[in-house]
Every structure is written in structure tokens, then in C-alpha cells.
């Protein structure tokens, strides 16, 4: 990605901060004056990737918007764990309507601001993968089509977590959820189903679409910052492991996300007006097994007997991503 990658520094640009980096090369999260848009006391599980992803993304958006930001939230873990009445963990203007209409509400907020001439105030909408790729999809597509001035952040934890881990259109092949049990001929989620929302967003020809991961804070913040500088409909799809739903160690949330990126299963790229313009190369390639092994939702693949065909099929997806996005160079 275009931001500077400094070689030879003690830790390069990979850690959040580091005194050897100049101020601009440090992340928003490393700053003492970060907003903490999503503050302590929220009720997300230990090591929740979605809480982390939201903290990363919204703080970066706040900084880019000079603290003039309104967030609209779909129903889902992020909304439920942050706002049990009458408490709120949000330290920014934040509103929730229902599960499926966050893009429409955000479009309305943006329209109202335009009507009031408040060009200084920016709007984001956020929701889980269920809210985004499934129930809110119509509203989102409309927001894209109208090119409403909203940055939509999808926190993809690959299932309906808040209601107890049901399959969504973003659930990966073979993953066990409570509605795709690890039984029968093809245990877990059926392969060749589901939707690739970043590609669908790109098909709308909107000015900015990108993927990001809690595994790479610098990249994530840089994308939020670039997206915030763009006028019109923008979409950022963020990979956020869910320790509860994925059956992973809460301490491994970032590690799991990193393995998804480094195996090629979750490609990091950026697109403008429907065309991929950049991608993040894999730094230390790993096999998909190294990703799958960390999660109980794929435990059934490791047997006995080991489901070599399924593992090979997942590896093929990773390999195809590597080829499509040119992730090796």
C-alpha cells in the first residue's frame, strides 16, 4: 500500500507506535489523544475482534473528520454490547435504528446534513456481516447506487454472532455454525455459497472500496483515512475474528486475523470506481491449515479422519486469491 514501509527500523512500521518513527508514521491508536470512540466498560467478549476493529476504524475516522462525525449502527454485537440501556460506551454522536436499515438511516443523516449546509460533519455507518451482506443489503445497494456521502464499515466476523452464531452470507465454506453443523456429507457451511461483498460493492462503481483486517493496524487506519478524504459512497470490509463464534483463544484474535491475511484467505486490497488499484503483499506466507487449526469451527476438518479434500478446497481459495490479487510480490 502507498504508505511508507520503513526498512531497518527496529520494528519497521508494523508496531502501533515506536519512538524511532516520526509522528506521522505512527498510528492513531498509538496517540495519547485518540478518541477512544468505543470506551471501556462495553460488554463484548474477552478479545473481541469486532470491538477492536471498531475502535481502530472509528478513532481513525474521528481523526480524519476532525472530531465531527456521526455514526449509525446496525443491530448486532457491536450495537448490543456497547449500548445496554441506559449505558453507552460511545464517546461520539451515535445512533441505532434496526438490524437491516443502517445504510438507509445513514443516507438520511447525510441528506439532512447537506440540507443544513453542514459539510464539516461526516457520516459513517457500521454493522456486522449479517447486517451488511444479508438483511441490510438492499439498503446498502441503494446507498451505493445513490452515491450517498457515507463511509460504510462492515465488521465481518463471518456469522450472526449476537444471536448465537448462525450462518450468514459471509460464513466461509466448511465452517461450523449453529445452523451449519459439522455433520453429514459436507460438514459445516456448504462450499460455493455466500457472497463476496467487496466485489459486489465494486460492481456498483462507487469511488472507494477496500478490505482491511485487525491484523494490520497501519493498513487499516490508512484505508479509513483515505476513504474519509473521498466524497460519495465508500465501503470498507474489515475482518474481525470472534473468539466465541470461531472457537479461538481470545488472546489469538489478532494472530488468527494475521493468519487469514498471510495465508491469502483474506486478501487486503483497495479499489477505486470498480477497479482494484492496490493490494498488500503477503509478508510471511502460511498455509491455510495454520489459520484453520486455531479455530474450533474448523476442528472437524482435522479428524479423525482428516478431511483432506476440504482443506485442499480451502487452500485452493487462498491460492486463487493470491493469483487474483497478486499477493506474493
Amino acid at each position: 500500500m502507498p504508505e511508507q514501509r520503513i526498512k531497518f527500523y527496529q520494528t519497521g512500521t508494523y508496531t502501533a507506535g515506536n519512538r524511532l518513527l516520526n509522528e506521522e508514521a505512527r498510528t492513531v491508536q498509538s496517540r495519547m489523544d485518540r478518541t477512544n470512540s468505543l470506551n471501556s466498560g462495553h460488554r463484548a467478549c474477552q478479545g473481541c475482534g469486532e470491538a477492536l476493529g471498531a475502535r481502530y476504524a472509528v478513532d481513525a475516522a474521528m481523526r480524519a473528520a476532525h472530531d465531527r462525525l456521526i455514526a449509525v449502527n446496525a443491530t448486532g454485537c457491536l450495537e448490543v454490547f456497547s449500548s445496554p440501556y441506559p449505558e453507552s460506551a460511545w464517546q461520539i454522536p451515535w445512533m441505532h435504528s434496526v438490524f437491516g436499515n443502517a445504510p438507509a438511516v445513514a443516507s438520511g443523516v447525510a441528506a439532512a446534513l447537506r440540507a443544513k449546509g453542514r459539510e464539516d460533519v461526516k457520516v459513517i455507518a457500521q454493522g456486522g456481516d449479517g447486517a451488511t451482506v444479508d438483511i441490510g443489503f438492499g439498503c446498502l445497494s441503494g446507498m451505493f447506487e445513490r452515491n450517498d456521502d457515507v463511509l460504510y464499515l462492515c465488521y465481518d466476523n463471518e456469522a450472526y454472532m449476537n444471536t448465537g452464531i448462525q450462518r450468514s452470507g459471509a460464513t466461509p465454506p466448511f465452517a461450523r455454525t449453529n445452523t451449519t453443523q459439522a455433520v453429514g456429507e459436507t460438514p459445516g457451511n456448504l462450499p460455493s455459497t455466500g457472497k463476496n461483498l467487496p466485489r459486489i460493492a465494486m460492481a456498483h462503481g462507487i469511488p472507494y472500496v477496500a478490505t482491511a483486517s485487525v491484523a494490520d493496524l497501519h493498513d487499516l487506519e490508512a484505508k479509513v483515512t483515505r476513504a474519509m478524504a473521498v466524497q460519495g459512497a465508500r465501503y470498507l470490509h474489515i475482518h474481525v475474528p470472534c473468539p466465541l463464534g470461531w472457537g479461538s483463544d481470545p488472546a489469538h484474535t489478532i494472530k488468527v486475523a494475521r493468519m487469514a491475511v498471510e495465508s491469502g484467505l483474506f486478501p487486503l486490497f483497495e479499489a477505486q470506481f470498480g477497479t482494484v488499484v492496490d493490494r498488500m503483499p503477503i509478508r510471511h506466507k502460511v498455509s491455510v491449515e495454520q489459520y484453520l487449526e486455531l479455530q474450533d469451527r474448523f476442528k472437524h476438518l482435522f479428524g479423525p479422519p482428516r478431511n483432506t479434500d476440504a482443506i485442499a478446497a480451502i487452500q485452493a481459495i487462498a491460492d486463487a486469491n493470491i493469483a487474483t490479487y497478486g499477493l506474493t510480490a
Binding site: 520503513i6 526498512k7 531497518f8 527500523y9 527496529q10 520494528t11 519497521g12 508494523y14 508496531t15 502501533a16 507506535g17 515506536n18 519512538r19 524511532l20 505512527r26 498510528t27 491508536q29 498509538s30 495519547m32 477512544n36 468505543l38 470506551n39 471501556s40 466498560g41 462495553h42 460488554r43 463484548a44 474477552q46 478479545g47 473481541c48 475482534g49 470491538a51 477492536l52 475502535r55 481502530y56 456497547s82 440501556y85 441506559p86 449505558e87 453507552s88 460506551a89 493496524l217 473468539p243 483463544d249 481470545p250 488472546a251 489469538h252 484474535t253 489478532i254 494472530k255 494475521r258 509478508r283 510471511h284
Partner: protein
């Protein structure tokens, strides 16, 4: 206004009312660990701490941190066997940090800029040091910094011990030794040259010394009998190398045989090569078993030194040696085969090691001299005679400049305590910062910076320094390769990765603290700390 807006019945509260810390069964704690480099350094340097300053280009601060433990970085930066680099965790990632090269750079900067060392106010106590090698000089430096008045008695005409009379100048230029010794002298250390101590009791009494540190090294050459040899053509390594310091070095024949397989044998052969001779090294064991460093063997071979492994000299004639071919038995010992060869040689130099010359101490009460001439000391570096300490090559253990320097520091601490009537208590050491505690993903791949090497033709014919130093740019890069194993370097990762905003950043230099009211104990911070400075511990309330 106490009227609520439409449809709002209660003021929204902050989630801060919800102390999620009570979910926790494990809690993160910040720890400091002992980096492997520090653990391995015989001079007891806090390498990571001085690299930390060097990483910022703060070379004087780095040097000052370094010389808290070792007053001779320019020397060590050239000749230390760098066990720190062997231990360096970065070696398991790509290549070890070139610690020695950075140390040399700092030492050379200090000489270039004339950085000096402040001393403590005088205590009125007088300490005698016997021998101005690295061990004696190191002890003198530390004792002077503590305010004691130090006098060194040195038998030789010049200071430095084996750093001058042993290590060849192409590895350690003498102006470097002189500059670092001059800085120690400038602190107020008195050095009496050409003053061999023969009667220790008398020297202590006349000088009014309150404590003594012995650091006479090991200078007595080990010899063997070779039948037929003519004494004129046979000499030992120590004598040969020390004569290099006089205006009249030995006149060698053309074919010089060096007998031995250690580093000294290599130094002798390479010195002979530079004097224009054709040296051959003869050793009873094979190349694998030879104690000389493989790197130095390779460099010697490059320069034209030839090797006869598995050969024992049995007889020496006018211009040739008779050698018996040896072979290694199952136990890895060389055994004779009864086959003989001849090797042309007009001079034989024995490089079979040196022993401490401690005869002058035999009558001192309480001192225990081992059969090999070494003196026994306790963990305080004190001999059996109260107030009489010893260190360096004359005590059992590894013989190296850094070990000698480390002994000097350790002895100085205990001498200081002895003079004050207290006991020096070593601060507790942290557990080791092992490689498996690091999170390698956060570190950029970066190759080791290479030092320039003198052209081969010059190496074969002159005593010019063979290895060049790093420049400011490469020294900075090299310092920045340090991973800061086991100790927080404020990368902000823990502060960033906490989903619960339960890490408090205390500001530059002050590290971080946990807010246990909200820490759920997920362990992400510990997992993502690049250098392994966070432990997860049980927290059952």
C-alpha cells in the same frame, strides 16, 4: 433546563459504570527480562540499554551507558570474542545484531571527540593493582569512579598486558589501546611502568595500601621437549609476539613452523606472514578439533598460511622437522600411526599456551595456588588472604579480554565494599528473555551490516588494521536491528490492541500501566507484545 427532550426518559450513562475487570481470571503484568546478550557478556555490559540510545543516534549517551560497565569499548569492539552475538535472539530470526561493531563505533567516537569520565569525591582509601592488562585497568577505572586512589604497578615498559604484548597490531592498533588507557589515567590513576612486584608485602606496606588487586595475567609459556632442537631456532609465542613491540623484532628464517592449534598459533603465523616469512601451522589434532576460531583459520589460509593437521613434531634438525602422522581414535584423541614425514622449517615457534607466573605469591599467607599456577578466588574475587583480590588470566576460567575486564569490575565492587566494611549484594537478575517469547511478525527483515575488510595484498604485507569500522549510517541501522528482547521499548502495541481501552499510556519514557477496572484478561496485549514484556498471571479473586 431539567426538561428532557422528546422521547428520552433517562440520562444516558457511561459504560464506565460497568467494571468489566471482574470477568477476569488471568491478568497481564509488565515484566522485565534479561536479554541473552546481556547474560552472555563477560564484562557484564547492559548491551540492550546502550543499543537503545544508539538506536536514536544518541551516541554519547550510548557510550556513557556502555562505560558504566566497560571502560574500553574501542578495544572490546575489536578483539572481544563477542559471546553476546552468539547468544543474540536475532540470530534465530536472520543474523545476530553486530553488537561488537556498534561497540567499536561508540568507542571510536569517544576517542574522536575526547569524551571523558567524571569521578566520585575521594574516599581516602588507597588500592594497589598489580598488572596493567585489561583486568587491572578495568578494576582501576571502577575503583577510581568510586573515589578510591589507585596505583598500578606494571612490570613491562608499556601498559596493556596481552592487549599490547600478545594480540597483533593488525587486529588491535596500539593507538587505540593508548587512547583508552590515557582516558583511564586522566581520571587520576597512577601507573608505574617497569615496576615488577616481587615482594608484595613490602609493596603494600610502603605504599600504605588498604586493599590489593592482582591481575598479572598468564605469561609463562608452556613448553615441550623436542629432541635435536637448537635453542636459537626455537622460541615461544608469547616471547615472539611481545618482541614485536620492541624496536628489534625477531629475525625469522624463511620457513617458520608454528606448533599449536589455538588462536595464538594463528596470530603468530599471521604475524610471521606479515614479516615476510612462509609460515606453516602444525597441529596434532584435526581442523575440527583445533580450538582456533574457524573464521580466523580461514582468514589465515587466505593470507597464505599453510596447515599440517594431525602431525606431531618428533625431531628437529637444522632446516627440517620430522613429524609423525596422527589419526583420531574413536574417543576423538589423536594417536600415533608410526608413519613419518618431513617438513622444511628453519624456525619453530611453540604456541602451546601460557601459565600464570605466580611464584612471587607463594609465601603470602592464605593464598592457594593451583598446580597450573592459577590462584583460587571466592565469588567476591578475593583470595584466601583478606583484602587481597585477584582476577583475569591468573584465576581459573576462560582467558579473554572481556572476562578479564569483567573480573576487574566485579573485584572493584567487592573491594569497595571491603573498604567500606560492607558487603556488595548483586541485584537480582531477571529470568531470561527467550526467543519463543518474541512476536517476530512485528520486526522488519534486515540484514546485518558488514564491516569493510582490508585488501588481501595489504593484509599479507603490513600490520595495518584488517577490519574497518561501521560508519554513522551503518552503525545506526545495526543498532536498530536490536529486538529489545524482554524489555518494553514503548512500541505502543499493548496500548493499541486492547479492545477494552484498559491500557494506560503514561507518556514517552514512562511506559504503560493496566487499568484493571476494565481489563477482561483476554491476553491480546501479551500475545502481541513484540518483545515479550508482558506475562499473563492467575488472578482469582
Amino acid at each position: 433546563m431539567n426538561r428532557k427532550p422528546f422521547a428520552i426518559t433517562l440520562d444516558p450513562n457511561s459504560s464506565l459504570a460497568n467494571h468489566t475487570g471482574n470477568w477476569r481470571t488471568m491478568k497481564p503484568v509488565y515484566v522485565d527480562r534479561l536479554p541473552p546478550c546481556n547474560q552472555a557478556c563477560p564484562a557484564g555490559e547492559n548491551i540492550q540499554a546502550w543499543l537503545y540510545h544508539a538506536e536514536e543516534g544518541a551516541y554519547e549517551e550510548a557510550w556513557r551507558r556502555l562505560i558504566e560497565d566497560n571502560p574500553m569499548p574501542a578495544i572490546h569492539g575489536r578483539v572481544c570474542y563477542h559471546p553476546c552475538e552468539t547468544a543474540c535472539n536475532r540470530g534465530q530470526l536472520d543474523e545476530a545484531v553486530s553488537i561488537r561493531a556498534v561497540e567499536r563505533f561508540l568507542g571510536d567516537q569517544a576517542i574522536l571527540h575526547g569524551w571523558q569520565v567524571p569521578c566520585a569525591p575521594p574516599t581516602g582509601k588507597r588500592v594497589l593493582i598489580v598488572g596493567a592488562g585489561p583486568s587491572g585497568l578495568s578494576a582501576a577505572y571502577h575503583l577510581t569512579r568510586m573515589g578510591h586512589a589507585v596505583t598500578i604497578h606494571e612490570a613491562a615498559a608499556k601498559v596493556g598486558g596481552m592487549m599490547r604484548y600478545g594480540i597483533p597490531a593488525y587486529r588491535l592498533p596500539r593507538n587505540i589501546v593508548e587512547a583508552e588507557v590515557a582516558r583511564i589515567e586522566a581520571m587520576g590513576v597512577t601507573i608505574r611502568l617497569n615496576t615488577r612486584v616481587e615482594d608484595l608485602d613490602a609493596t603494600i606496606k610502603t605504599g600504605g595500601f588498604h586493599a590489593t588487586f592482582l591481575a598479572v595475567g598468564a605469561h609463562l609459556a608452556r613448553r615441550i621437549d623436542i629432541p635435536g632442537v637448537d635453542a636459537k631456532r626455537m622460541l615461544d609465542a608469547a616471547t615472539f609476539l611481545s618482541r614485536m613491540e620492541s624496536p628489534f623484532p625477531y629475525k625469522l628464517g624463511r620457513r617458520v613452523a608454528v606448533y599449536g592449534g589455538g588462536n595464538t598459533a594463528i596470530d603468530v603465523a599471521r604475524t610471521a606472514e606479515r614479516l615476510g616469512a612462509e609460515p606453516v601451522i602444525i597441529y596434532r589434532r584435526d581442523a575440527v578439533q583445533a580450538p582456533a576460531f574457524k573464521e580466523e583459520v580461514a582468514e589465515a589460509a587466505e593470507e597464505g598460511v599453510r596447515f599440517h593437521w594431525l602431525r606431531a613434531i618428533t625431531k628437529a634438525d637444522h632446516d627440517k622437522l620430522t613429524v609423525e602422522v596422527m589419526e583420531m581414535d574413536e574417543q576423538g584423541k589423536p594417536k600415533p600411526t608410526g608413519r613419518f614425514e618431513t617438513i622444511e622449517a628453519d624456525t619453530v615457534i611453540l604456541a602451546l599456551g601460557q601459565k600464570a607466573d605466580t611464584g612471587f605469591l607463594r609465601n603470602i599467607q592464605g593464598i592457594r595456588v593451583s598446580d597450573d599456577g592459577t590462584i583460587e578466588v571466592d565469588e567476591c574475587m578475593m583470595t584466601g588472604h583478606p583484602g587481597l583480590f585477584a582476577g583475569g588470566d591468573m584465576v581459573p576460567g576462560e582467558q579473554s579480554v572481556s572476562m578479564a575486564t569483567g573480573h576487574g569490575k566485579r573485584a572493584a565492587r567487592h573491594i569497595d565494599a571491603y573498604l567500606r566494611g560492607t558487603l556488595y549484594v548483586k541485584p537480582p537478575v531477571h529470568p531470561l528473555a527467550t526467543f519463543d517469547r518474541l512476536n517476530g511478525w512485528y520486526y522488519t527483515d534486515a540484514e546485518q551490516s558488514k564491516q569493510p575488510i582490508l585488501a588481501l595484498a595489504r593484509r599479507r604485507a603490513t600490520f595495518e588494521e584488517m577490519v574497518g569500522g561501521l560508519d554513522a549510517g551503518t552503525a545506526l541501522l545495526e543498532a536498530r536491528r536490536c529486538l529489545s528482547c524482554g524489555n518494553c521499548f514503548e512500541c505502543d502495541n499493548c496500548y493499541a490492541v486492547c479492545p477494552d481501552n484498559a491500557v494506560i499510556k503514561l507518556g514517552a519514557g514512562n511506559r504503560f500501566a493496566f487499568n484493571y477496572d476494565y481489563c477482561k484478561g483476554c491476553g491480546l496485549c501479551a500475545e502481541e507484545c513484540p518483545c515479550g514484556a508482558i506475562d499473563m498471571v492467575k488472578d482469582l479473586k
